[in-house]
Symmetry: C2
């Protein structure tokens, strides 16, 4: 069954209207016959609308809502990835994979060792592109929510944002396995979790110190050295495992 995101304003009591590129996709590419089942969500709430194609107009598809269910694909916690800006197009892979794995929001952070510096205009177009990738990945994974990729922020701003969360995990080499286990288990029971990932060169020492002062928890992700684009998805996989398989 195909899944689509629409704006809240397109959702009526019994009918949903799909316009724009999804209209074109449904009518001319998928050529869906009347009666075909699709699922729809507004990208913000976890309501999933199960519908059938009712009719086509010149610029829209009209769907009949059959029933509404709570989507069961969202993680029980809101997980935020604070990703140190990586080089090249690694951010695209990070977004795609973390959206598949249930991330709630991705926060690109300009860290001390980030090689890439993004300024105003360039940053805005990057962030727009990253949000498109998130939306496409959310559609493919049939997520109820489209995870937001926020603007690029400074480390100081990241700490301030992270402070609001129940627990913040800071993967860092040479960390004790025992305390890591405890931190992951605690995170798997929290309502909001932050994951801090350094860029290619890792965290700067003062960044680690500040994360610890803020209450961050050092964790290990295992005994091998992971690349920056792998670390976030692995930490998120560990939470997936605890929240969905071990629960």
């Amino acid at each position: 069954m195909y899944h689509f995101f629409v704006d809240k304003s397109q959702i009526g009591k019994d009918r949903i209207t799909i316009t724009g590129s999804d209209y074109n996709h449904i009518k001319n590419v998928l050529r869906m016959p009347r009666g075909e089942e699709v699922s729809v969500s507004d990208g913000e709430s976890d309501d999933e609308y199960r519908c059938r194609v009712a009719d086509y107009t010149d610029d829209s598809v009209i769907l009949d809502v059959e029933f509404i269910k709570k989507s069961d694909v969202e993680l029980p916690a809101k997980v935020y990835l604070f990703q140190g800006l990586p080089k090249a197009d690694k951010m695209e892979l990070i977004i795609q994979k973390c959206v598949e794995l249930g991330i709630y929001e991705i926060v690109p952070v300009a860290m001390a060792r980030s090689v890439v510096k993004l300024d105003g205009k360039k940053a805005a177009s990057k962030v727009a592109r990253w949000n498109e990738i998130s939306r496409a990945a959310a559609k493919q994974s049939k997520r109820a929510v489209v995870p937001q990729v926020s603007d690029v922020i400074s480390y100081k701003e990241a700490l301030k944002k992270a402070e609001e969360l129940d627990i913040v995990l800071v993967p860092y080499e040479m960390c004790e396995e025992t305390t890591s286990k405890e931190a992951f288990i605690e995170a798997s029971k929290a309502k909001s979790v932050g994951i801090f990932i350094g860029p290619e060169g890792g965290f700067d020492k003062t960044e680690i110190d500040k994360a610890m002062e803020m209450g961050g928890r050092n964790v290990t992700l295992g005994r091998r050295i992971l690349r920056t684009e792998t670390a976030g998805m692995v930490a998120l996989s560990y939470l997936n495992f605890l929240m969905e398989i071990m629960a």
Copy 2:
């Protein structure tokens, strides 16, 4: 500290000789002074040789072996990924990430729904390229072992190879979480584990049946739909977590 792989024949009692492209890299790119510490392994055993640069000749670097330790970066089990041949260059991402996460061997399998068909000559050059990627990823992650990417085999051959392993996990949608938990925990205590991943279109029904007949264990990887290139690394992450963090 940089890590290098050498052939067993290059390892002497107290000295190791590095030749070829690594020689060029050490001498002309890294410009390592005498006395610099490096680690070396033969790519097959988990012996890690801690050495110092002793001398340069016209075509080799001579290292003094200071001590030998057992590498602690290998997983306690040999984990084999049986990957249904995916499209395009996805296999490269799969290899890179699974090597980072401690895979022991990657087995590309021509499955019923694999769109890509690889024949003799094309297959050989692909497999050679994939092994190069494995070697580079192993070096970066300072693995003791270079995971082999085997030749592309048929599903029947994959089953035969998998039969020798202690436990085989078969991620498949709509599987019970309870039995998944048990299977993952059992796998985390085994000496050899297989992970079967279908291609983009998923497993064919008869493939699943045959995997079950062979003793494979159905598991879920969570509630979201994962792409073929994500599923293997997520299953392997779950094993990492159990073997290294929860242990």
